[in-house]
């Protein structure tokens, strides 16, 4: 009851100054709308650009790098020898090259089973990489075929985002199907449904049917890389089912990748690289864009806050008589403060709600603007992030700003000495 009375007084005073109140509210509206639109856009762009790296890159990649033994065999033998107290021995057999080693991950199927049971792992996608030659007419074109599990590759690494023709399901279901890099396909002048001949390094030939095209936007990549199923590539290489060259791991929590990569390397005896090590620089860009959108929004809101501060000061100055009367007839300083803070909050809430709506409309509008991005062929308009976090922050910030902007004038009003006003006439 008491609060309703004060709220009624607030809104009556506000109606008396409707024009200025609306102007102040419009200030709030604009800053909220801009904040929402800008954040949605900036973060849409951020996740798009981050996604270029983050979505395509496994959080951890397990592989087997072919390299000389860390310790040359003779050295080890000699060390044992000297450790047994036989004195130091010198030898001349050095630089023993790796031999008979395959690029595959040893015990890949066992490792994959173990990974699937790890609760920190979101999913895994195996890969078999193969260097091949495509025979086009009389010439030969270099290429690389990646054997993948299409469904997992899509779920974990957004494979379909880069498919300009064909679908994940088609690749999965077509026997000996292949998705060609767009550049490579153009070079070879082949279309969907054509059959291409592939020769492995060992000289084995296979006929593959083109089911789709792949475009990452990176020409070097698109001119070389192709995709087929794991078993297709294993057949092409004449390798058994356990021949896997890479195990790509996606985690629930990206931040754990470096520690887990070290853990896996030690546990499985493989090479493991985490996404942070592989792409050290990508985080700075999104941080800068985030800062920009916050700075712009804060500036706008501060300006709106000053608008509210101004109108309240003016209103209080004009209404000194009314304030004196309210106090003389029994309203307390706290009542007067509540009246003016309410006034400010009404402006903030009305302005803020309209701002939410306007911000959302702006987001929709940005979402319609055509935008061509070579690296992401499936994207046709500017990206917008509709995360409800931004409207939430926006409205809270508007309320906080209007509350603070209203607080100081309202406190001044609550301290008005009615005697001074009444005597002053």
């Amino acid at each position: 009851m008491a609060f309703r009375l004060l709220l009624g007084i607030s809104s009556t005073l506000l109606r008396a100054r409707l024009r200025q109140s609306i102007v102040a509210a419009v200030g709030v509206t604009f800053s909220i709308a801009m904040y929402i639109a800008l954040s949605g856009f900036m973060n849409g762009l951020n996740s798009l650009l981050d996604g270029l790296i983050l979505n395509r890159t496994p959080h951890i990649r397990l592989y087997n790098e072919i390299r000389p033994a860390d310790q040359q065999p003779l050295e080890r033998a000699f060390e044992l020898h000297s450790a047994a107290g036989n004195g130091t021995v010198h030898h001349f057999i050095n630089r023993v090259k790796p031999k008979g080693e395959e690029a595959r991950v040893r015990n890949a199927l066992g490792i994959m089973d173990a990974l699937r049971k790890d609760p920190r792992v979101l999913g895994i996608a195996p890969k078999v990489a193969a260097q091949v030659m495509f025979n086009v007419g009389t010439i030969e074109v270099n290429g690389a075929v990646n054997g993948i599990d299409p469904k997992e590759e899509d779920r974990l690494l957004h494979f379909s985002d880069y498919l300009v023709k064909g679908t994940v399901a088609q690749l999965a279901s077509t026997n000996n199907g292949i998705v060609l890099g767009k550049g490579l396909a153009d070079k070879m002048q082949v279309g969907i449904g054509d059959v291409v001949q592939v020769t492995s390094i060992q000289g084995d030939r296979t006929m593959l049917k083109v089911v789709g095209f792949y475009q990452s936007g990176m020409a070097d990549f698109d001119n070389v890389q192709c995709f087929a199923t794991v078993s297709t590539v294993q057949n092409l290489l004449v390798k058994p089912r356990n021949y896997i060259t890479d195990i790509q791991v996606r985690l629930h929590d990206l931040a754990q990748a470096p520690a887990m990569a070290r853990e896996y390397a030690a546990r499985f005896g493989v090479d493991a690289i985490d996404i942070q090590t592989a792409n050290a620089q990508f985080e700075t860009g999104s941080a800068v864009r985030n800062i920009i959108s916050y700075v712009v929004s804060i500036v706008l809101l501060v300006v709106a806050g000053f608008g509210i501060y101004n109108i309240l000061n003016m209103l209080i100055y004009e209404k000194l008589d009314s304030i004196a009367i309210l106090k003389a007839t029994g309203f307390s300083g706290g009542d007067v403060r509540t009246i003016f803070i309410n006034l400010s909050l009404i402006i903030g809430i009305c302005g803020g709600l309209v701002g939410l709506l306007l911000g959302w409309l702006l987001q929709l509008a940005i979402d319609r603007i055509p935008f061509k991005f070579d690296a992401l062929p499936t994207v046709t308009t500017y990206p917008v992030d509709y995360d409800p976090l931004y409207p939430t922050i926006g409205i809270l910030f508007a309320l906080a700003t209007t509350f603070i902007a209203g607080w100081f004038p309202a406190r001044k009003a609550s301290q008005v000495d009615p005697v001074e006003i009444i005597r002053g006439k």
């Binding site: 005073l13 008396a16 009314s322 003389a328 029994g330 307390s332 009542d335 006439k425």
Partner: protein
């Protein structure tokens, strides 16, 4: 409490102003106004009448001495408590008819009543209409406060002061700004209030005729009460 008990009592109330130079405006004022009494305060301009009224109304707390209201010592109470006391027990009418111009006549009158919360709005409106009727301006009830004449405004201010049935109605030169016809109307209203409601009335006035019709004339001179 019955007629004759003190409604307002001051004990050696003194007041100083320090701007531009320290000056004592009230000098150990001892004053008692009894229940149902209709008293007037007269004195030369600048002798401290308004200053005393502001202290009696509890709006001014910067004084020496003690103030009792309805038997309760109000000197030193918190501002919130004093607001409550003003709201409930004191009606105040100023020389200039202060109304809140954004509100209607009726709303102006019932605002202190809504604040007190003793009655709901419909009942308050009914009571306000009753006051307006006895003052002959019920037809103005729905008009905005800034659309009525000065004499009417002063009557509205009196109605507002009466809305919570205060123990005492204090008026600081209520007719000082009115023409003789409106002064006569206001005077008439005071007399009726004094007679009908058994309510104390304390009126500061320059108008000797008005003062002559009150039960008691208190004369002030240079911050002192010289005649009770």
């Amino acid at each position: 409490m019955s007629n004759g008990d003190p409604v307002i009592e001051t004990r050696k109330v003194s007041k100083y102003f320090h701007d531009p130079v320290t000056a004592q405006v009230l000098k150990e004022v001892d004053l008692v106004v009894k229940r149902g009494e209709y008293a007037s305060i007269v004195g030369k301009s600048g002798c401290g009448k308004s200053t005393l009224m502001y202290i009696l109304s509890t709006m001014d707390t910067d004084y020496e001495g003690e103030l009792y209201l309805d038997g309760e010592r109000v000197t030193g109470l918190s501002h919130d408590r004093l607001s409550r006391i003003r709201n409930e027990k004191i009606g105040f009418v100023f020389q200039f008819h202060y109304l809140i111009s954004e509100f209607s006549v009726l709303d102006n009158i019932i605002l202190p009543g809504l604040k007190l919360g003793r009655f709901e709005r419909p009942e308050l409106e009914e009571r306000a209409m009753g006051h307006l009727r006895t003052m002959g301006i019920e037809h103005q009830a729905r008009n905005m406060a800034n659309q009525i004449s000065g004499g009417e405004k002063q009557r509205v201010a009196i109605a507002r002061a009466l809305i919570n049935d205060p123990l005492i109605l204090m008026c600081d030169e209520p007719t000082g700004n009115l023409d003789s016809r409106n002064s006569a109307i206001v005077e008439e209203i005071f007399k009726r209030i004094a007679a009908e409601h058994h309510r104390s009335l304390l009126v500061v006035t320059h108008d000797d005729e008005l003062a002559a019709r009150t039960d008691r004339i208190i004369t002030m001179d240079d911050g002192r009460i010289v005649a009770l």
